[in-house]
Symmetry: C2
Subunit: 139 residues, 2 copies
Amino acid sequence: MAKQNRPEQQQSQAPDALNCEVRLVDLNIVRKVQPEILPMPEAQRMAEFFGVLADPNRLRLLSALANQELCVCDLAAGLKMGDSAVSHQLRILRAMRLVKYRKEGRNVYYSLADGHVINLYREVVDHLQETGSSSMGVE
Amino acid sequence: MAKQNRPEQQQSQAPDALNCEVRLVDLNIVRKVQPEILPMPEAQRMAEFFGVLADPNRLRLLSALANQELCVCDLAAGLKMGDSAVSHQLRILRAMRLVKYRKEGRNVYYSLADGHVINLYREVVDHLQETGSSSMGVE
DNA sequence: TCTATATCTGAACAGATATTCAGATATTTA
DNA sequence: TAAATATCTGAATATCTGTTCAGATATAGA
């Protein structure tokens, strides 16, 4: 951790800094890098968002809604999931505003909220196709 | 679950289907939706990818690497994390091919693997800015 | 009103995940 | 060679997450 290797320019500047618990070279780099680092609150918000997409069943729900609105029980039937599980997942998607819904009688029809999800989807498909090993059957 | 409400066109087609455990209307919709649903293996792969981005410290690591390559101990110092934690997280980013690395002496310098991450980043920032409640200080 | 249906909700459990700790490996320097 | 440093790794622990289950709410139809 002491980072005494990697000789850099300003070691002559403050000789006593070498005895300090904070090392000189670290400080220079850290000072440069720190402001570029995503602050923790925003990082958490972003992580929370990605976390919503980090579940195969939620992704499948989104893909089912990509072309038409569907109610909970159709989604459950189509994905072969329990109604309750679908409802729980839809709530998470709703909280992140990835889907919107509309009530009609006792049915609730869900649909995608905007195009961001699709864009994300394609970007990830690109990445996985280029780097990954499997194929992703997406046009 | 029986979906006897929502009267649809083809109920006259097969009257005995009403006694079947699989309901008619469900079947029609499910048959239409099924092929559009992301298959489970690909959904899992994609979810795994998003899961890698679903951690605030990994996002912070990526943001630190967005402008320059950095070694493990500088990342640890900059993010105020333990060396071991950083190393563990970098391994995950490496496995998903989001970062690449280069050894130099006893240091290992990491950098972003390609531009997909940045694109994803911006897309999410857009989404969060439009729908979310907080501001994300990204240009 | 009563029944069936669609959806939602909270609790509980199993499985996944991030960090810490201790220690291993590799490289540089004395 | 020995000591110091940078990085990595596996085990252990605490936390988070997804599903199921039981039951609540709401709406449509008899």
